[in-house]
Symmetry: C2
Subunit: 329 residues, 2 copies
């Protein structure tokens, strides 16, 4: 037996489909009698409305597309948790569309969002503006998260990477560190670029301070490798700022293995404040990731529901958190 449709319900309740629809959607003008008959039939048949059909005729899906790069770990789960909170509060479901690096399939998958979602939250810090424009489905409201904006084509919400990196720079300068190393993130990544640039700008304002920047890829392993290379190069340094916590943790391991004291010989700082940072006493920049997700989705839903356009661009604040790896042991 196939699934019951609204017409099955109508014929069992001896009313028209219009009446069934009205009862189901809580429309006022329905007699008590009709309401009861319909309710009974719905229960008896175990009827559940068909979402695709409803979407088609109402042009609303009550789903929001979430487009994310190949994320792992805390960052992913936190941002989704924030979005999920808002989504379930406001009656939406989240449709996940991961953007696997270099997958041509990913692009077409995105366009397939048309007719499936009422809007999309897009986080793609590794895409250029042109790639982005070519990838996004047309006619779907978009909010960009942490992604290069398209000069006002879509509202964008970004982390205040510059402020965070500057705060770390100032902190290290205040500690009187002179030979500073920055382990940067992948070159194509917008967050990584902003952090590196702001950090360099501020740190080189210090008197007699040298800065050396090496490249990583945001993985713990790459942080470890980078520091090991520096150690063997004999190049002296007394502070390391990694573009994210993962790499900072890798750096800590390399230093520990080499017997360098942290923070006495080398101060270490990261970015993100993942839970592990707290356990390891890592100085870092706290990013309220879940809040970023919440805020992004709220803004998007506001525009989807027509409650006015959000401002073109917002910076999400971050906060310096000083812990043992730069403070007292």
């Amino acid at each position: 037996m196939a699934e019951a449709t609204i017409r099955d319900v109508a014929s069992r309740a001896q009313v028209s489909v219009a009446s069934v629809s009205r009862v189901l959607n809580g429309f006022e003008k329905v007699s008590q009698e009709t309401r009861e008959r319909v309710t009974e039939a719905v229960a008896a048949l175990g009827y559940v409305p068909h979402a695709a059909a409803r979407s088609l005729s109402m042009a609303r899906t009550h789903s929001i597309g979430v487009v994310l790069p190949d994320l792992h770990g805390e960052f992913f789960s936190e941002i989704v948790r924030g979005m999920d909170r808002v989504a379930s509060e406001r009656g939406y479901l989240l449709l996940l569309a991961s953007l696997h690096a270099g997958s041509p399939l990913g692009t077409s998958a995105l366009r397939a969002l048309r007719g499936r979602v009422d809007g999309a939250l897009v986080m793609a810090p590794h895409l250029s503006e042109e790639e982005l424009a070519a990838t996004l489905p047309p006619g779907v409201p978009i909010v960009l998260l942490n992604t290069r904006g398209q000069q006002g084509r879509h509202p964008a919400i970004s982390l205040d990477n510059a402020a965070g990196a500057r705060a770390i720079a100032e902190h290290l300068l205040a500690l009187d560190r002179k030979r500073v190393v920055h382990i940067a993130g992948p070159p194509g990544n917008a967050d990584a670029q902003e952090r590196a640039q702001a950090f360099a700008a501020r740190v080189t304002e210090g008197h007699g301070v040298t800065l050396q920047t090496v490249e990583g890829d945001f993985s713990e392993r790459s942080g470890e490798v980078a520091v090991t290379a520096l150690l063997t190069s004999q190049e002296p340094f007394d502070a390391v700022f990694a573009a994210n916590d993962n790499m900072a943790i890798g750096a800590l391991q390399a230093l520990r293995q080499a017997g360098r004291q942290v923070p006495e010989a080398v101060a270490v700082a990261g970015f993100d404040d993942i839970p592990m940072a707290r356990h390891l006493g890592l100085t870092t920049v706290q990013v309220r990731i879940a809040e970023l997700g919440e805020f992004g989705l709220s803004e998007l839903l506001d525009t989807v529901e027509g409650r006015g356009m959000p401002p073109a661009s917002t910076l999400h604040p971050v906060e310096l958190v000083v812990r043992a790896t730069t403070g007292q042991a």
Copy 2:
């Protein structure tokens, strides 16, 4: 200007909608000329097929519902990562439906999956069989993950909790621990129950071994609280097995604060092998969570695509990982 429809494309290309549809779906019997005209029109209009309309007429959505409890952290991101891998490989999108504890909305949200997904992966270790039956949408293929099965109504894939707990028990017995504590998970949770039960069964086979079980809720905090209470109660113990790593980490903190040596005075073990466990040297049971997600989704897609029913029930293997908190310091 509204979005282009297939009829707009048809009229611009001077062909019928049927031909457009055939071209778009790579149907063979189309003349070269028609194909070109349609391709041109599609490009010119920026046409993208409307997913809801397609779903409705084809009765396929190419989406899979993922129903998860209020998860945070690694467990969530890992399981989703595994599913996502399979999903994008096989051309599906994931629709996330979190089951917030005690939210009546959650239930109705689940039924709303009808017409939106081709099947659902359901993980709800806190629901009873009856609750589950009342919550699931009818007529949608389901695979249960780590959830009390409904005696064969749906295929189920579960962690081999019993094997993991037994392995920990044997390990502790081999270390000659005599006064063992188990910090259990929430009482309504199926995983927690299985772990507690199997652990108790095996550990009490040891000669002259006592077991004390206290209750936690899977949070780090609750592990800390439990151990602190035990310490102040003066009750002696030389081993702690927490039902998950989070609680084990809390336990470690409480022990460290009290100055108890780990593993000399008290051996500590957890369950899950979250990344932090490796960093802290926590002995635990490794669960390949991403694999669980991959496997679950593969099985589900097989049944959705009619490649035969998976076995009614599968146990996902786990593995003991011995580290510093029970081994040599």
